[in-house]
Amino acid sequence: MTWLRSNIKLLTGYPSAVIGLVIIFLLVALAIYAVVTMPLQEAITLWRAGEGIWQDTPRNAAPAWLNLFRREKLPVTQVFDSTQLPEAKTRQDLGGGLTEIRIVFPFEFNYDGFPQEINIFTTATFRQSRPNLNMTWITPDGREIPLGNATLRATESFRLSQDTRLTRRLGGRSAEIGLFADPNLSTPRVLKGTYQLVLEGLVFEEGADIDAKLVVYGQLHGLAGTDHLRRDLMVSLLWGTPIALAMGFVAAVGATVSTMVIAAIGTWYGGWIDGLIRRITEVNLILPILPILIMIGTLYSRSLAVIMGLFVLLSIFSGGILTYRALFLQIKEAPYIEGARSYSASNMRIVFRYMVPRVLPVLIPQFVTLIPSFVFLEANLAVLGLGDPLLPTWGKVLWEAEANGALFNGHYYWVLAPSVMLLITGLGFSMLGFTLDRIFNPRLRGL
């Protein structure tokens, strides 16, 4: 216990170790938050489902906090749903089974940029005769722009920005610009003020009803923005954390511990066991690991567990085994091993109780420094398009950004957010690892 306490005290003397520990602590907290607030199944559904789930988010929108740094404010998404806003809907019985349903969505639009798109989604309940809907747009200066008239099916979506007839009526400007532009200016500028969408529906049956949702898509969204499939990047940034940490930790433990144990067994028994281990290591040095992982990913399985397991297996017999061998060869000759042998301790006891604990101080820093390489391995594979098909990970976001030309098209946030997360994770662990190395490795102490 005192050993631990004194080492922790030593650690706090190094600023880089403190920073590393703080980063790791924050990441673990973030990971716990992600797991608690959003169960894995929910995250996967959110990430993999199509437009049905991401209907209300814009495409390729930058994070909303960018507005804090901009003089010209860009719009964020505004959603108005008559099922959520009962006061927006009024019913008037016209007699003879005829009912007029009037839905009015008034809203402020005080941004300097135009929205990305405008959609109206309606749901109608009826038995036989389909309801009728008349849509009107009222601008702050009082102009009334007819948006069209339709006989509704059960669900209907009106994508105003793609409505070519409306575009023609708006003088060649598509809806998201034409409906919001100041009509007196030749270059389109937003006319700020209160807009209204008025929906006048007629239902022809008792109990029939219409509900509507207006979505004015912004150019910015949430804390992390959205991607080309309208998915909120926050989901993947949040869930990427536990995945990255778990993978880095498990793989690093697996790789370092098994490498060390195998090296210890090899040096202790010597003979053909040692020879075999060395031969395997030599073959493994020639095997190009990444191409083989790529082949496995293409031909067998893309599951993260399989690929990571294989990578751990391949990295067990790597250069590290030689380092440990050199250490164990020295330890094997130490007098206390002689002592253990003289009281006829079993081979396994000598390996696990006398040899392995001796090199643990070397192992801990190595293990911490190894974690980032496993975190980045996932990203490596994802960037080659071999990411896990189900999980939302940082690497996959990066790959999708790359594949969709995010840098070329100027969607920098899409690349930056996952890379910053990766970099912070890598930095946190390797800063701690480097300091541990300097503390535990007596040859480095004070350098």
């Binding site: 790359e402 390797s430 040859r443």
Partner: protein, 380 residues
């Protein structure tokens, strides 16, 4: 981190004139043993690659099914065969499929073919690609790979030599100025090397290609390629800056840090103090007492970093659209082009083996233990 095993210092006096020939013999014998051992390991490695690439024979099933399906569709669509009964048609498909199997060598059992593949692979007779062709139109895997080998070598060699010399000499300089601001900065920056080169590549593309528009996003030359040789060279150089910069950025800090630490450890040895006390100039101490005994270690880490570089360049090539072996591997995987996947992996295995061998040879030249015949000592 890497092994810091102190090479046991043999007294140079024991190597007399008469033992020169025997030292040379020992070096040759050592080198030959290593060559044979490496050849055997390469054979095993290549065979494993072939087994994995062919999914233990399953890829062939997929390929057979694909061929049959393709033929069935072609015959079904063709008006010439419209009068045939279904049975006749099936027979025709089967006949044509057998011819196609024979062409692709699929008519023999997998285990036989795997050894034929191995023999061919070892003499670099890599067969024909199934889908991809080289830029000159050849479908021989060897031609495709040779075409891609040059860009990969160019990229790897440039970044490697840059990286190696800059980090060794910077480290030597820093170990001389131990404790200065630059020295402490290098220690603080070392953790930045946790990220791989392609990761820095993305940042470099973002800054220098996307925002500043100074350098190209990727590729090896402008399209269309410049006509004159000089302009071509300049264009390649311009495209080389960002990928090489990414490699250097990702490894230089850790390189400087570990070499600095290493030189510091060596410069605190007693014999270095002794040399200082004798009043030798600092340069002579560095050359004779610090660099010389640490040479085997430097070579080992040289080899290890080159090996990492071969692997790391695969994704870097993908990110930078660099027309090298790594990108070829990626393209081949997209098309399930097994001969190319195998050929490419084999070339990587050969590159690794050659790297290890050359460095083993250099090691034999500089390691006193090999010269004086202390055969048991070498472990890295």
């Amino acid at each position: 981190m890497a092994a810091t095993q102190a090479p046991s210092m043999q007294s140079p006096a024991s190597v007399g004139t008469q033992s020169h020939t025997s030292a040379a013999l020992r070096i040759i014998r050592y080198t030959l043993t290593r060559l044979i051992a490496l050849f055997l390991t390469t054979v095993v490695g290549v065979y494993l690659t072939i087994l994995i690439a062919n999914m233990g024979g399953h890829v062939d099933e997929i390929r057979r099914a694909t061929i049959r399906e393709g033929l069935a569709i072609a015959i079904g669509m063709s008006p010439e065969y419209a009068q045939l009964t279904p049975a006749q048609r099936r027979q025709l498909v089967e006949e044509l499929a057998q011819i196609e199997f024979k062409r692709l060598g699929l008519d023999q059992p997998f285990i036989v073919r795997s050894f034929r593949y191995l023999g061919n692979a070892l003499v670099l007779n890599l067969g024909r690609a199934e889908q991809l062709t080289s830029d000159s139109g050849s479908s021989l895997v060897r031609n495709i790979i040779l075409e891609r080998l040059v860009p990969t070598l160019l990229l790897t060699a440039t970044s490697f030599f840059f990286l190696f010399f800059v980090s060794v000499f910077a480290a030597l300089g820093l170990s001389r100025r131990y404790g200065s601001f630059l020295d402490r900065l290098s220690v603080a920056l070392a953790p930045l090397s946790a990220a791989p080169s392609w990761f820095y590549g993305i940042f470099l593309i973002l800054i220098f290609a996307a925002v500043l528009r100074w350098l190209p996003f990727g590729g090896m030359v402008d399209a269309p390629p410049p006509p004159s040789r000089w302009a071509y060279f300049l264009s390649v150089l311009k495209h080389l800056v960002l990928p090489v910069g990414a490699v250097v950025l990702s490894s230089i800090f850790i390189g400087i840090y570990s070499w600095r630490t290493f030189f510091l450890i060596y410069s605190s040895e007693d014999y270095v103090d002794m040399a200082r006390a004798k009043g030798l100039p600092a340069r002579a101490i560095e050359r004779r007492y610090i660099l010389r005994p640490s040479l085997p270690y430097i070579i080992t880490s040289f080899a290890l970093s080159l090996i990492t570089l071969w692997g790391g360049s695969i994704i870097l090539e993908q990110v930078f659209n660099w027309p090298g072996l790594g990108r070829l591997l990626y393209q081949a995987i997209q098309l399930y082009d097994t001969p190319i996947i195998v050929g490419d992996t084999i070339i990587y295995a050969y590159l690794l083996a050659i790297t290890v061998f050359v460095l083993d040879f250099v090691y034999a030249l500089v390691d006193p233990r090999v010269k004086v015949g202390d055969s048991g000592g070498r472990s890295a």
